[in-house]
């Protein structure tokens, strides 16, 4: 039984947070939906004009296409590598060291990571000394140096790799905790029955990791849809690397078009809802 309290007492505890949520979440979210139907200065009603822009303009098409690339390759990469590392580090003696190193990028800012990788991708014309590690490696193997961040579509993949470098550690840590929770008897029993490594993975590890996998996959999907810092710092959406969140930022500040920026936000919101729903349902089940 929880303590029964009447009157205003509970409000003293819950009230401040609710007040903040109303001011910083509920009211602005509703207002943004409203603004998305108004013109650039929020003066006249323009119907679905802003949404037409969101779905048909070439820049937004590029942004959607890139977010889709991110969605596929970033999510598959982070979760796939995270799962692989979670299983493999369990079998080496320097497990905690390995985990620390792979997880470390998670602690630094995306801006910092952006600088780290912009340096890795630095391009100097052929003939001059390379200072970026990746182009140096290309030269060692007899290739020409590449403008990793300048050529589309390779630049979007170059950015996705930065994302992988940052987030794989997160997936690994969550999956590793779940992996260690798999009852040993299950694997032993399978071994007695003559199962091989691959069968154990398919019929025991994967099903047992399902809740944790749902968690990391949904978290990564939401990350991808909101991805901003890496692109803002490394290319600012130029050379065909634009993404939804960066475009919204540009519409808001560079072009001062409130209507379009709001419509982009609403579309982003609509895409996030089903994923977050799955994510929260999973969290509530676990908690």
């Amino acid at each position: 039984m929880r303590r029964k309290t009447g009157g205003l007492t509970p409000l003293l505890y819950v009230g401040p947070a609710v007040f903040f949520l109303l001011i910083y979440q509920v009211y602005p979210a509703l207002q943004t939906i409203y603004l998305s139907f108004l013109d650039r200065r929020s003066e006249t009603f323009v119907g679905l004009t802003n949404y037409k822009y969101v779905f048909t303009s070439p820049v937004m098409q590029t942004a959607f296409k890139n977010n889709l690339l991110w969605l596929i390759f970033f999510t598959a990469g982070t979760v796939g590598l995270g799962l692989l590392f979670a299983i493999l580090v369990d079998r080496v003696r320097y497990e905690s060291f390995a985990k620390s190193i792979i997880f470390m990028p998670m602690a630094i800012s995306f801006v910092g990571a952006g600088v780290v990788w912009k340096f890795m991708y630095t391009y100097k014309p052929q003939g001059s000394e390379q200072i970026g590690l990746l182009n140096q490696i290309l030269i060692i193997f007899g290739f020409e140096p590449k403008g990793w961040l300048l050529e589309s579509p390779i630049n979007t993949f170059a950015l996705i790799i930065v994302g992988l470098w940052i987030w794989t550690g997160y997936c690994m840590v969550i999956l590793s905790a779940a992996y260690k929770g798999i009852p040993k008897e299950l694997v032993e029993a399978a071994a007695v029955d003559g199962a091989n490594e691959l069968q154990v993975f398919r019929h025991i590890t994967l099903p047992e990791l399902r809740p944790a996998l749902t968690m990391v996959i949904t978290t990564m999907l939401v990350n991808v849809l909101k991805i901003f810092d890496i692109i803002y710092v490394m290319t600012n959406g130029n050379f065909g690397t634009e993404v939804i969140a960066n475009r919204m930022f540009k519409e808001m500040f560079q072009f001062a078009n409130t209507g379009r920026a709001s419509a982009i936000a609403v579309v982003l919101f609509l895409m996030i809802i089903p994923i977050m729903y799955a994510n929260i349902r999973q969290k509530l089940r676990e908690g």
Binding site: T9, Y24, R91, A107, S109, V111, F119, A178, A265
Partner: protein, 287 residues
């Protein structure tokens, strides 16, 4: 795990090779940044950082000049101070309010409790993009944009849903009998909160504090939106990203600046890794 009995087990050598390769891949980019930040400008521009590795202990090839110049003329020192001010306020306020309301929601019985909790969980779905324009307009009216106070409150608003969710999960796990006993002994609700709930939840609070602190410290987008172009209040992430714009090829400066921005998170991470990981999981995994 008893894997000896598994048929066709993945050879240990393969496991080691993959894990060591991952460690090297994850560590190299940061190592390159660190070494470059200590090399003289002329070396950085004309030779790769790996050339320093041929005689890594030749200390005459290193210099701290880059750090001196980013800290003095680069404005990184002011930005460092700003990051601290922003992160401390942006952590203390939301964590305190979250503790209050999570306590109220899980240990007090009152009408509308379920509704408030549902509201908070729903707010987890709303991306911050949905709130930028209306909140910024409100801030411009109240002259809160470009101020530390305004940014603290924004980080509070954005951080609360997750913080409450996480602490609520934790408070739920504390036995109600404990709180009943305190009630019977005549303790007021406030005393129960301060003397019982808070001390019992130190591990959870520590995780949350570290998580929120690093999230605010590493934030770029929220600062960009609400601080405008005010460099005097800009945190490290903003300062670093504007250096990328203005000194894009001065890698000796950029690497030093990046490392300044990464120093605090790295120290926090390396010393408090356990709590940080737990904070990131935030109810994803029990315990």
């Amino acid at each position: 795990m008893n894997r000896q009995k598994l048929k066709k087990k993945l050879p240990q050598i393969v496991v080691n090779v993959v894990v060591i390769l991952a460690i090297v891949l994850w560590f190299l980019p940061t190592l390159g940044l660190l070494i470059t930040s200590f090399r003289p400008a002329s070396d950085v521009a004309y030779s790769g950082w790996w050339t320093a590795l041929s005689s890594p202990l030749k200390f005459t090839q290193y210099t701290i000049e880059n750090y001196q110049s980013v800290l003095s003329s680069g404005g990184m020192l002011t930005a460092f101070r700003n990051s601290f001010i922003i992160s401390i306020g942006g952590t203390v306020i939301p964590v305190f309010l979250a503790a209050l309301s999570a306590f109220g929601l899980s240990k007090l019985n009152f009408k509308g409790r379920g509704f408030f909790y549902a509201l908070i969980v729903m707010m987890l779905v709303v991306p911050s993009q949905m709130t930028f324009i209306p909140v910024l307009r409100l801030y411009n009216k109240l002259s809160l944009s470009g101020t530390f106070g305004g940014l603290w409150l924004v980080h509070t608003g954005y951080g609360l849903p997750f913080s409450i969710f996480m602490l609520h999960t934790f408070f739920q796990s504390l036995p109600d009998e404990l709180f009943e006993a305190a009630h019977i002994d005549g303790a007021s609700i406030w005393t129960t909160f301060l003397r019982l709930a808070i001390p019992l939840s130190v591990p959870a609070l520590a995780s949350l504090v570290i998580f929120q602190f690093l999230a605010v410290w590493n934030d770029l987008l929220v600062a960009l939106i609400y601080l405008g172009g005010h460099q005097s209040v800009a945190p490290l992430t903003m300062r670093l990203s504007s250096l990328v714009g203005s000194h894009g090829q001065d890698w000796h400066l950029l690497t030093a600046a990046a490392f300044v921005s990464m120093a605090v998170p790295l120290i926090v991470f390396l010393s408090l890794q356990k709590y940080f990981v737990r904070g990131l999981m935030g109810g994803a995994v029990k315990g």
